[in-house]
């Protein structure tokens, strides 16, 4: 690099996390810069060029611009975009939001370095995901089956047990009983509370998987701009482990809402034209570059499965963050406050929940021949429960027709026996399906309009 080592002294402007510098030569768009102050604090910071006009560069500082002044700052251009050093030794390690080790175990001896922005996967090199991951949770395995290589977010709200659910998935996730392939967990925290990060760490420790976990922590009091790269660094590590080291990688990203909030903050400080609710127009593209980094490719045995967690502001599923997420991800698991209020754990509202890849990963060859039919019937019958309840709230339960009354009973039982389970209860798929049939037994046979007559004869 021709300008490596050249240091520019001073800045022309500082505004929030954005600084501008004049008179630079040969700086490239998206390049990483190192900034250092020459005062007694000797503050060191990293930044990224986000706009460049002739010799004027606008730099976004990851750690915020505190302590920088227009005269005390030495800026050096690195000549490359943000990179993350990779080797198999990252397993068991903990990093900060931009990929620097914070566990005191020293730097990573890198086998290679990768641009954290990644590159789009070529659709012809992808393999369509078909193998399911058993989570041991009935509402997921039975109705919104998680598939290897899928991106399946949890839509939650503040105060709902999404963390416990994610931890349970991590603990119980299994690639099937006879599989000896190893599962690696990558945990990326963006703007979460210290307790939450600690809870996950403890969970990993207790279940003895800590040396198969890579953690990236950007906590609530860490710099906001850093958050924008945390998921990218984590997914760079995931892609490396999956596609080069043949691991099955489960990526937990929490909380995507903080990520989007950080984008809005930075966008407005850049003076960009906002679209909905003040979020920048490229929120969709930006979320997509994260979520699309999941999947299976043709020449590798590994897979990247994503479980992003997001808290819906005001429990509103039409808010831009859950809305755009739902358009990109392959389904969603939606948690519900009313169910949580009835102490049902996990409080999964199955009706808006969905797994788009489920249809190809279940059935005779994978789980059992009646799986899809049972799932459809449970969905459809439970939708009717909602109608019966609405009616009951108007005319009173006593006035309901006998069939509606049966639906009310079915609804209660479905929530208490199928959805609800213990936090350490690991149900296999057959048990889940059998519970489903027991519940369907509560309804008259002719109400089962989504199941083939042959299957009804076999299992009813």
């Amino acid at each position: 690099m021709k300008n490596m080592g050249i240091e520019y002294i001073g800045l022309s402007q500082i505004k929030g996390a954005l600084v501008a510098i004049d008179g630079v030569k040969g700086a490239a768009y998206d390049e990483i810069v190192e900034l250092k102050t020459d005062d007694e604090t000797g503050t060191k910071k990293l930044g990224k060029i986000i706009e460049i006009y002739e010799d004027k560069a606008v730099i976004q500082i990851f750690e915020g611009s505190e302590n920088l002044s227009l005269v005390n700052t030495h800026t050096r251009f690195t000549g490359h975009p943000l990179e993350f050093p990779l080797s198999i030794d990252i397993l068991g390690r903990t990093f900060d939001g931009i990929g620097r080790p914070i566990d005191g175990l020293g730097p990573i001896e890198a086998e290679c370095k990768r641009d954290v922005n990644g590159k789009p996967l070529n659709p012809v090199e992808r393999e369509y995901p078909r193998n399911y991951i058993r989570t041991g949770i009935s509402a997921i395995d039975g109705l919104t089956t998680l598939i290897r290589g899928q991106k399946l977010p949890i839509f939650s709200g503040n105060g709902l047990p999404h963390d416990r659910l994610a931890a349970q998935i991590v603990k119980q996730a299994s690639l099937g009983d006879d599989s000896d392939e190893d599962l690696v967990v990558i945990f990326a925290a963006m703007g979460v509370k210290y307790d939450v990060a600690e809870f996950f760490k403890r969970t990993f420790e207790e279940s003895g998987v800590l040396n198969h976990v890579v953690m990236f922590l950007n906590l609530a009091n860490d710099p906001v701009v850093e958050r924008l790269v945390t998921p990218k660094v984590a997914l760079t590590a995931a892609e490396y482990l999956a596609f080069e080291k043949d691991k099955h990688v489960l990526v937990i990203l929490t909380d995507m809402t903080s990520f989007a909030e950080a984008m809005r903050e930075v966008s407005s400080s850049k003076g960009e034209i906002p679209s909905r609710k003040g979020y920048p127009g490229y929120l969709y593209s930006e979320l997509a570059t994260i979520y699309e980094r999941a999947g299976i490719v043709t020449n590798s045995k590994g897979s990247v499965t994503q479980i992003p967690i997001l808290t819906m502001p005001n429990d509103d599923i039409t808010h831009p963050i859950p809305d755009l997420t739902g358009y990109i991800t392959e389904g969603q698991i939606v948690l519900d406050r009313a169910l949580h209020g009835q102490s049902i754990y996990p409080p999964i509202n199955v009706l808006p929940s969905l797994s788009r890849l489920m249809k190809d990963g279940i059935g005779e060859d994978y789980t059992r021949d009646d799986h899809q039919a049972v799932a459809n019937q449970l969905f459809s019958s439970y939708a009717k429960v909602g109608e019966a309840r609405a009616l009951a709230s108007v005319i009173g339960e006593d006035e309901l027709s006998p069939s509606d009354k049966k639906y009310l009973e079915f609804g209660k039982a479905f929530e208490n026996r199928f959805v609800s389970q213990e936090e350490n209860e690991n149900r296999d798929v057959i048990t889940t399906l059998n519970i489903g049939w027991e519940l369907l037994h509560m309804l008259p046979k002719e109400e089962l309009d989504r199941i083939d007559t042959k299957l009804i004869e076999k299992y009813y």
Binding site: P120, E125, Y282, Y284, G295, I328, E399, D449, T453
Partner: protein, 590 residues
Amino acid sequence: MNETYTGAIYGINGPVVYIKGKTKFKMGEMVFVGEERLVGEIISLTSEITTVQVYEETSGLKPGDLVYSSGSAIFVTLAPGIIDNIFDGIERPLKSIAEQSGIYISRGISVDSLDTEKKWNTHILLEEGQEVLGGTIIAEVQETKAVLHKSMVPPYISGKVISVKPDGDYTINDTIAVIKQENGGEYNLTLSQKWPIRVPRPFNKKHPSSVPLVTGQRILDTLFPIAKGGTAAIPGGFGTGKTMSQHQIAKWSDADIIIYIGCGERGNEMTEVLEDFSKLKDPKSGNPLMYRTTLIANTSNMPVAAREASIYTGITLAEYYRDMGYHVAIMADSTSRWAEALRELSGRLEEMPAEEGFPAYLASKLSAFYERAGYVDNLNNTEGSVSIIGAVSPQGGDFSEPVTQNTKRFVRCFWGLDKSLAYARHFPAIHWLTSYSEYLNDMAPWYDENVGPDFIPYRNQILAILNQESSLIEIVKLIGSDVLPDDQKLTLEIARVIRLGFLQQNAFHKDDTCVSLEKQLLMMKTILYLNERAKALIALNMPMSVLKESTIFDKIIAIKYDVPNDHLELFDNYITDIDNFYNEVLQKNG
């Protein structure tokens, strides 16, 4: 060749690059940016600043890097090899990209749009001395088992053939004939031609279409049919089945060619189409569906500017096959992502936003796109059509947002997807009360003649029952269904039969996934016959509770599974069953 010229980059902001000073670039010209020669397009020119939108990631570009001219507007290559292929948004074949750069798509890859080395077995239709015009078919190539490719004289070119090659194997760039133009110049005809993507290809005359695009999907063909050359929009929130509906139409519609544009959608979905369509067989010809399909994949994580272009690339390919006399259907999934790409670029250019940040020209761009559909007389006097089926992904599932509203103004078929139907797993989740088709009247004569004079009256009766149901449901919600009079209870029951037995269609069932118009007619007939007989019983004061003791209603619902598509004679048994039901009820309670 055009003179090449360059400009030096002044500024970079995301996918937008600026060049300072007055340049020789032309508006809409394709350019190559930087050392890596990233593909870009000139989108505005002033005497101070030239603006380029770049179709690839711009990180690493520096002020001072050069921008090179190409001399022509952004174009696609049109020749054999398009079908059974998958391209990115600017017609670069993804398979060739994979050969060069592995599982990821790298930047600045230079590949030919189509294989220039492959020799195609060509049958040449020209004779020396023949006068040819733009559009004249000059040669035929069996492109895939299902598609006979007809190479044509490019539009606006004409003259007299002065030499012609014999039938044989030619590459797409070999000269197969030479013509002398009126101005005296010679022009070499090859199997290929180039066409700028933003310019509609010319035709002689557009006329209203009276032939439906038969999709095999009952709710579409019967209730809200689309014409060949028509336009339709499928709006719906996430999870309501937009993509699934598009896949079903791409699989089973009776178009000759399918162009599937994955615009800003999921990578796995494109992989699924690619895998499925290679395996699935066209019910008519027995060929794999890929043999009539072209995929354009610009997934959501691929560069946003190329996403904007992908829609135009797709429609230009479609028009090219239309010019050969084919009926082409385009699936654009999803036009909202395309509109968002416009918004994103408009934001980068700091243009004044209109509603929700979308640029003010959103409506005119949408209308210009949908107007490229149509049933036309081609330059070579064949007839062809381009039908557009655009998915719309309204934010929050709210149909009042700008993309849905503007799309509604320019399409004549509206298939509104409904969240509550999707939650109850009623698929296709197209809601019969919000959807409409303006083509129905134009096509009524076709249905009368080709399916049967009863089809349209039956269709209207079915829709009327569904509408009655919806007003009855309002009452039921307030006071329960027990208090309704028996004839209204029957309406609810028949509506249930229609919803479950007719509207709901199982895409994963081998018989139910695609249903002929004939079977659709017989299903309607059977349901309406049941309605008629049951009504007669109610008129004789038989209570609905007695009628419901019979299993006949559920039996009719199961017709879609129980009557295979090639055994339509079984419908006679159902008519007998309904008569028996009528007589039994009468005997027992009469």
